[in-house]
Amino acid sequence: MWEQIRDNRIRSAVLVAGMGILLLLIGFFIGYAFLDDPLIGMIIAIIVWVIMNLVALLQGDNIILGISGAKKIGPDDHPRLYNVVEEMKIASGLEKMPDIYIIDDPALNAFATGRGPDHAAIAVTSGLLNKLNRDELQGVVGHEISHIKNRDIELMLLASILLGSIVMLAWYATRIGIFGGAGGRRTSGRGAGAAEIIIVVLGLLLLILSPAMAQLIYLAISRRREYLADASSALYTRYPEGLASALEKLASNNTKVRTANKATAPMYISNPYYMGAAGTGSDLFSTHPPLAERIRILRAMGGASYKDYETSYRSVKNESIIGKVTLEQIGNEAVAIRQPSAEPPPSDILQKVSAVRETSDLMWRMSSYRLLTCGNCGAGMKLPPAYKEKSVRCPHCGFINRI
């Protein structure tokens, strides 16, 4: 279970290589049209790419987490979430505990990011924490941990850097081409040969189409990996229904994540933009497979192994998702689905209140409030950051608590 999903790695490598070639072609054309030397253009393209890489290496995940307004939490801030992440870390055999972030947002969503299994982070919205029970949360966290374990986060980082470089170069090249006139080479006295014209036309087409092409490749990578992360989540949790029921809640809650944007969208567990009714259509431009389909596949699983996911996927989509090699190596062992954790019935107000309180307490703490439990009656108190006294009287039982 610890190997990456191998055939998929090859497929992804081909797609990333395709984006790389696209980038080099743009460089070639820029060099050819404006600089009289295709090689220099290609070198420029590579330099742009290297610089973007360095920026990402130095603070890639910080940027993403910063944009999303995520706040880092520790084991005491939200024990349930921290525990569930640690459970999935152990189940997946991941060596290092990922950082955990919370986004204060009523929408239901989560994502994983980072430079690799040792520098990874998982972010979930506070809405998710309020609405999901433990099994569902486990399914979602299992999905995100799979993105880390299957090295999807690195791949998506790599792909998004390539995408960014392509878009940037193409944008500048078309601007220069339009306003500066791409004629530098053709004024050199030689008549424009047919071959030269073809290259120029192809190059212009390339410049215009490449951002869209790169985007399509990017999305193709991300969609496929959503299914695979679902399969791994089912395997880690031994309980596909947890994730299925969580996705169902996600589908019925059509709130957008306020801080999501186009660049961060593919990272979320479900598309942060279009939810609800949009969850039925799948086209080339969607970052995520439709939720309804993912739920159907998870619910049709007869066991929790990769093989079961493959069978189920085949019955729904009539094609293969996990390659033969991987299945033979790791997926063939039969894995039974476990019993659901005994949860209080949904009508249990006490449990519901405590789940909401858990999250809201966390939000209080994040705004620098101090939470105190009365030493006598156990009532919870929230002290504003400005409260400087040494003790406080419990409003419930009158007991004086030292701070």
Binding site: P79, M88, A91, A342
Partner: protein
């Protein structure tokens, strides 16, 4: 001369393959040990949590002295077997899980206890520790399976027998002990 070179080349290739397999075996064994250490960490954590739990619920559960004692005893037994073999340990830990689950199930019928924040925290920690133990066990058993497969399958079995790699035991909680346990914690007490 030519034959000598060919033979030498074949020998070198075989040795290189052998080294590769050997390293693979060592890697698999280390991963397995690592996975075992994970289980160990969680089991120790559970030993540490149980006295706190017993302390926290003692005042509320005067009538459940038997349940409490069963948990304490199972814990002490499991801890005393901490350096015993895998199978023996698994049995003791399985019994502890069962006793603990019974205690947590009984605790459900004490509303005042359920309102106690200290108890709720302990309950969350114990539930999660139980989960972590079973996930760590799951991963450990996967590692053992992979390692044992390497030892049994050709051609790695040759290197394994030369390097004296021994098959490992699975950490299996006896079905009996587990069936006895109402699935941890939040379960409503059945007809209590």
């Amino acid at each position: 001369m030519v034959i000598a070179i060919i033979v030498l080349a074949i020998v070198i290739i075989l040795v290189l393959i052998g080294i590769g397999i050997y390293n693979g075996l060592v890697g698999a064994r280390n991963q397995m040990k690592n996975a075992w250490a994970q289980i160990d960490v969680q089991l120790k954590r559970r030993y540490d949590l149980i006295p706190n739990l017993v302390e926290a619920v003692k005042g509320y559960m005067e009538h459940e002295r038997g349940t409490l004692e069963a948990v304490t005893q199972a814990r002490n037994l499991a801890q005393s077997l901490a350096s015993a073999g895998v199978a023996e340990r698994a049995r003791a830990e399985g019994e502890l899980s069962g006793a603990l689950a019974r205690l947590l199930a009984v605790a459900e019928s004490y509303p005042t206890l359920k309102a106690n924040e200290n108890f709720l925290n302990l309950q969350e920690e114990l539930t999660s520790t139980e989960n972590k133990i079973s996930f760590a066990r799951q991963f450990y058993n996967d590692c053992v399976l992979k390692y044992n497969n390497m030892i049994q399958m050709f051609p790695s079995n040759i290197v394994a027998s030369l390097g004296r790699f021994k098959e490992s035991e699975f950490f299996e909680v006896k079905a009996g002990a587990e069936r006895e346990a109402p699935k941890v914690s939040f379960a409503r007490p059945e007809s209590k």
